[in-house]
Structure formats: structure tokens, C-alpha cells
């Protein structure tokens, strides 16, 4: 399997994740999309690491995974707070910043 196969797969997953982020109404759904995108990034990192023999990709995907976990925890904490205050997690209705 060539590198292209992995990268294409990763690009597809990334695009799917982007689609989810763009279209989901539920804040948690958006977070899921973000997870997919980050996951695609990880595939890229690991694939490059494998194909170049450079360890950096692995280490960085480790970092990515850890940061993602922190991000998810924090993001969900925010979602919970929002839910407590606004009684909704619909991203469309969280538009206090509307101009």
C-alpha cells in the first residue's frame, strides 16, 4: 500500500469531518466532527512517519491525541455549562455574538 492510499483515506475522513462540523446543529455533534478531522490528521502523521522512517510523526500524533483528549474534555465541559445556562446545545441558537 502506497502512501497515497493512506493520504487519500485521511483526506476523505478529513472532508467528512469538516462536513460534519459545518452541518451539525448539536454542539456535541460538531465536536464529533472535530474528532474525525483530528483523527484524519493522525492518520497522516503516522503514515508519513512510517513512510519516511522519521519518528517525529509518531511523537506528534501522540501529542495530538493527548491534546485532543484535553480538548474534548474541555469542550464538553463548556457544552455542559452552556446547557446548564441556556438549556440547549443547539449551535444555531448559541448566537449571542450576532452582529
Amino acid at each position: 500500500m502506497g502512501l497515497h492510499a493512506y493520504l487519500t483515506l485521511s483526506a476523505l475522513v478529513f472532508a467528512i469531518g469538516l462536513f460534519g462540523v459545518l452541518t451539525r446543529r448539536n454542539a456535541i455533534g460538531i465536536l464529533l466532527g472535530i474528532e474525525l478531522m483530528l483523527n484524519a490528521v493522525n492518520i497522516n502523521l503516522v503514515a508519513f512517519s512510517r513512510f519516511t522512517g522519521d519518528l517525529g510523526g509518531l511523537v506528534f500524533s501522540l501529542f495530538t491525541i493527548s491534546i485532543t483528549v484535553a480538548e474534548v474534555a474541555l469542550g464538553l465541559a463548556i457544552v455542559i455549562v452552556i446547557f446548564r445556562v441556556r438549556k440547549t446545545v443547539e449551535a444555531d441558537r448559541l448566537d449571542l455574538l450576532r452582529g
Partner: protein, 164 residues
Amino acid sequence: MIVETVGFAVVAVVLLASSLAVVLTKNLFHAVLYLAAALVSTAGIFLLLASPFLFAVQLLLYAGGVVTIVVFAIMLTERLVGERIAQTSRDIVNGAIVAAAVLVAVIGFLVQAPAMTPPATAVAEQTVAIGKALVGPFAVPLELLGLLLVAALLGAVYFARAED
């Protein structure tokens, strides 16, 4: 070689299908489960890429951790027991167009890139190598990561604290 190709095909199909399901299914809980499937199949990809350590980390942190947390959040935000959590999507066409555009752009790069062949053997003693790298050239990022995690932990605790 055959085994690897077949394995890749299977895992890729599962990954893509579950990814699509994540963004398309109406049931949020199902979406999380599909995400878990996607993450596990990603872990399979890692195995194919001869990175068992990352495979384990992916399972442990992502599938075990992230999914659990997400489920937890669903539990807390939706009514504990009640009607199914339906979730709708908005601007599906726009999102699809933009996502497709990004995909085409990235693929555009890919087709220009030269093909690469992997080194005959994967990094030997990968785990040891990663460990040494983490405390060697990547020591500072590692410490920063620790700092970030502490900050995230504090932030999460602050957000989740009981209302006074």
C-alpha cells in the same frame, strides 16, 4: 502483501462508512458509537502502518476516553431518560460543497506528490524509540503538553464546579 491490502481495504471501508455515519446519522448516541467504530478502525490503520504503540494509545485514549466522555456529556445534556435524541443538520448542500472543495484541493496536492515506498522494516523497538524521543528531542513539547493538560484539567473542573 495481500493480507495488508485486504486489511487496508476492509479497515478503510469501515472507517469511511462509520465516518459518514457519524456526520449523517440523526441519533446523536449512534453517532458517538459510529465515532468509536471510526476510531477503532483508525487504530487498525495504525496497526497496518506498523505502529502498534499508537494503536494501543488510540484505543486507550480515544476509544476508551473520548467516547466515554462524549457519552457522558450526552447523558448530562439530554434528559436522562426521555425521547430519542434527534439531531438535525443545517445547510447540508453548502457543507457538502465546501467539504468536497477542500477534499478536491487536498487530493490535488496528492496527485502531484511523488509516490513513496516505505522503508523495508518499520522502526525497530518503536516504543523504546518513542519513549527516548519524548524525553530527548521532544522534552520541551512534552512538558508543554503536561502544562496544557493541567490547564485543561483546571478549566474543566472550573466549568463543571457546582453552582454556588
